[in-house]
């Protein structure tokens, strides 16, 4: 039960921390000053949510939230690879922001029904703040998709890079069986993925953006929980060309882009592990 809760909340927290870190890299570089402030504020919100999740873990395990955020080795992070990708350009970050916050809304709605009362309460609280993120993301996608053709083309390219990787936000979690048995999540990750992809494709359709850029994706590459609770790659090698891209994050397998982010994010903590903030 305890390890199931820690597994679930660590995945949620790491997603928030890592995407928040990537968002924050736009501070000082966003297209205009107003957006710089807005996007930086969203980045802070996401990192704040990570801190709230880590505190929940700290109550169960006794580790400190700072240690959870900054004191782990790269393979111990459970964020989806989607969150750790470099920002590339503004359209990429916008599309990722939209996909992430749409997925997060689906996930938080489910978490509000969690049997763990503090997790359910936290989800309700966060969802209020996430409403603004969704409004912001929708406003941007709508305007860029209706604007000049260059912006639209860039959105479509970014969707091509992002959409399939976003699905990995709902890859199976460590101890997923136990998570479901204990009703920490009311339904499985793959059920949530179905809800997310239905909603995302329908909303993209409303924006007039192609939602089916990855209809031909091979969905058979999945990570399955073995009897020991570890994740093993099933069917196909994750690196094979036909596998859905960006999988493995939930099992601690990250890209080189993550290693660079981790180096930078944890450098101060590694130099001064006892420092108090």
């Amino acid at each position: 039960m305890k390890e199931a809760l820690v597994s679930l909340v660590t995945a949620l927290a790491d997603d928030e921390l890592i995407i928040g870190h990537r968002h924050s890299e736009w501070t000082g570089f966003a297209p205009h000053i107003e957006e710089d402030v807005a996007f930086s504020s969203i980045a802070q919100d996401e990192i704040g949510h990570a801190a709230a999740y880590y505190s929940l873990i700290a109550e169960v395990t006794g580790t400190s939230p700072d240690h959870m955020a900054l004191g782990r080795e790269p393979f111990e992070y459970r964020n989806a690879v989607f969150c750790e990708r470099l920002n590339r350009d503004w359209s990429y970050s916008l599309v990722r922001h939209w996909l992430y916050d749409t997925a997060d809304d689906v996930r938080l709605a489910a978490l509000q029904e969690s049997a763990d009362a503090s997790l359910a309460a936290l989800a309700t609280k966060m969802r209020r703040e996430e409403r603004y993120h969704l409004l912001h993301a929708n406003a941007w996608i709508k305007r860029v998709s209706e604007g000049p053709v260059e912006g639209r083309t860039r959105l479509i390219d970014a969707l091509g890079m992002c959409y399939a990787e976003a699905l990995a936000l709902f890859d199976i979690l460590e101890f997923e069986d136990s998570i479901l048995e204990n009703n920490l999540l009311p339904c499985s990750s793959s059920e949530l993925r179905g809800r997310f992809s239905m909603r995302a494709t329908s909303e993209l359709d409303d924006f007039g953006l192609p939602a089916d850029v990855h209809r031909d994706l091979d969905d058979s590459a999945e990570f399955l929980a073995s009897s020991s609770g570890d994740l093993i790659a099933s069917e196909k090698d994750a690196s094979s060309a036909s596998a859905r891209p960006g999988i493995g994050g939930r099992a601690g397998m990250h890209s080189d882009e993550f290693k660079a982010l981790w180096d930078e994010m944890t450098s101060t903590h590694r130099l001064h592990p006892e420092a108090q903030w």
């Binding site: 107003e34 807005a38 969203i42 409004l135």
Partner: protein, 101 residues
């Protein structure tokens, strides 16, 4: 892109007050950006965005100048009324209206 002036209200009984401006493509975006720029610390509970071009300003500020003595338009000019009223009351009280002496 246009300039939108942002107004916020700190409580429902208070007037909206100007707090800054944002550059945005339309009103919805102006509100979204204005919220983060001027209300992210909960400085208010309501927000307006007004297109700057919709604001009509005086062309000649000199019309606001007051040339002659208009002190009668200011409450401060009537401050001695209280003293005058008190003096009048005292006067009335001290008056004798006949009667036995």
């Amino acid at each position: 892109m246009e300039v939108y002036e942002i107004f916020r209200r700190s409580g429902h009984k208070n007037p909206f007050e100007h707090c800054g401006a944002v550059i945005a493509p339309d009103p919805e975006m102006a509100l979204l950006l204005g919220k983060e720029c001027f209300l992210r610390r909960r400085e208010g509970e309501h927000l307006w965005a007004v297109r700057r071009s919709d604001i009509h300003a005086l062309e000649d500020e000199s019309v606001l100048e007051i040339a002659a003595d208009k002190s009668y338009r200011f409450a401060s000019d009537y401050r001695d009324v209280v003293d005058k009223r008190e003096a009048a009351r005292r006067r009335v009280a001290s008056m004798s209206w006949g009667g036995a002496s």
